[in-house]
Amino acid sequence: MTGSMDLPAKGGFDFDLCRRNNMLEKNGLKLPGFLKTGTTIVGLVFQDGVVLGADTRATEGPIVADKNCEKIHFMAPNIYCCGAGTAADTEAVTDMVSSQLQLHRYATGRESRVITALTLLKSHLFRYQGHVSAALVLGGVDCTGPHLHTVYPHGSTDTLPFATMGSGSLAAMSVFESRFKEGLTREEGIELVSDAIRAGIFNDLGSGSNVDVCVITKGKTEYLRNHQLPNPRTYASSKGFSFTKGQTEVLSTKIIPLKQKVEVAEGGDAMEE
């Protein structure tokens, strides 16, 4: 296990097998797909802190792989991060930076700052030149105030009062652009975030299911998992199913009496060890 977390890394991915993979693909091999999170993720700054929101659908091409996944990741007690892009990449990169922040907290004895998380994330993503497909909305409150940032897969970042990412970002951004104002209250902030996520859920195929919300203020974080469930199951029959005899048509019958095939010997010795 020594050496698995040595910093700084030698750099990037090893591309030695790329030529071979391209050749295999040309010869008809179907490369394995990966789980993307389609996604609508949003964040906004309100008067006491930040509110983050996300949908809960994970897609594998046209199939919904997970109807209720968690896209708001823990970074520090006062910092959370929404992730869009390849699910494995967002999970791995947020776990890794969360771990580094914990070690940093122990070394300094202080609460983590949002800008620290931001810098650790962007340095990592830049080193991998966009191959780590993670688009993140990072938000939190620290001693310098509330902060909201977006991080792109190639390592660039923005600092914004409200932000959206993912395939549903345009639908969500339309809600923000028309209704965002400075100094929102907590209730207004949560409602605006939920409305933006719902816009993504209903207007974007890559997003769906439920709304997760996370409210971060000075000294307190509330993770409202499944804050809204606008897509409940409506088709499960409570009566269950009943099949009467004769419903299935019998096409042919074949009976093999086993007694004639097997010799049953009475007695005998017990099996030897």
Binding site: M1, S4, M5, D95, M96, S99, Q102, L103, Y106, A107
Partner: protein, 235 residues
């Protein structure tokens, strides 16, 4: 004695079967400030004296008891700088364990890994053993635990133990006072009394440090105000 001819190299055994450098490391520990730990029925307490070299030193900048994870703390006797290195390595190992297994590291595992690091430095070229003995206190699913780790890398689980200058008197005192079903607050009082026994001078809330783990499993270093309350209860 024949041993001294073999004390030049760490990695050479003496004819009596000892690694003399480790013996010397234990001597360094034995001349360090007293520290002790007591495992109670519902928690663990570790404590140490904090004698600073001069009254001009800012005592708030010195913290001898450190947290390794939210539910594991550690105190030492011996060389402070060596302790800092071990604390850093242990914290990193705890994080790596969590990254790998998504489970918070059990106390025994962290003790084992720290001990493995200390042993590494007794069998490598160009390094010396750590001049500290550690008392690691933790509270996990196996209940409250207290471990001592020596410079050689050997570790022991204790119900109560002491290390440093006043070790024999402190241990005798603890043997007399320890009971299996002790509550944590009793254990804290006993710890303070044990430190008081061997203390040269007046004990106060600024020259001792106490770290505790209650049933809530959160390692906490007591503030001077909290220590003062316990001291007053003991008087």
């Amino acid at each position: 004695m024949g041993d001294s001819q073999y004390s030049f190299s760490l990695t050479t055994f003496s004819p009596s079967g000892k690694l003399v450098q480790i013996e010397h490391a234990l001597t360094a520990v034995g001349s360090g400030q007293t520290s002790l730990g007591i495992k109670a029925a519902n928690g663990v307490v570790i404590a140490t004296e904090k004698k600073l070299p001069s009254i001009l030193v800012d005592e708030t900048s010195v913290q001898k008891i450190q947290a390794l994870t939210p539910n594991i703390g550690v105190v030492y006797s011996g060389m402070g700088p060596d302790f800092r290195v071990l604390v850093r390595k242990s914290r990193k190992q705890a994080q790596q364990y969590y990254r790998l297994y998504k489970e918070h590291i059990p106390v025994t595992q962290l003790v084992r890994e720290t001990a493995a690091v200390m042993q590494e430095f007794t069998q490598s070229g160009g390094v010396r053993p750590f001049g500290v003995s550690l008392l690691i206190a933790g509270y996990d699913d196996n209940g409250p635990q207290l471990y001592q780790v020596d410079p050689s890398g050997s570790y022991f689980s204790w119900k109560a133990s002491a290390m440093g200058k006043n070790v024999s008197n402190a241990k005798t005192f603890l043997e007399k006072r320890y009971t299996e079903d002790m509550e944590l607050d009793d254990a804290i009082h006993t710890a303070i009394l044990t430190l008081k026994e061997g203390y040269e001078g007046q004990i106060s809330s600024n020259n001792i440090e106490i770290g505790i783990l209650r049933a809530d499993r959160e390692f906490k270093v007591l503030s001077p105000a909290e220590i003062k309350d316990f001291l007053e209860e003991v008087e």
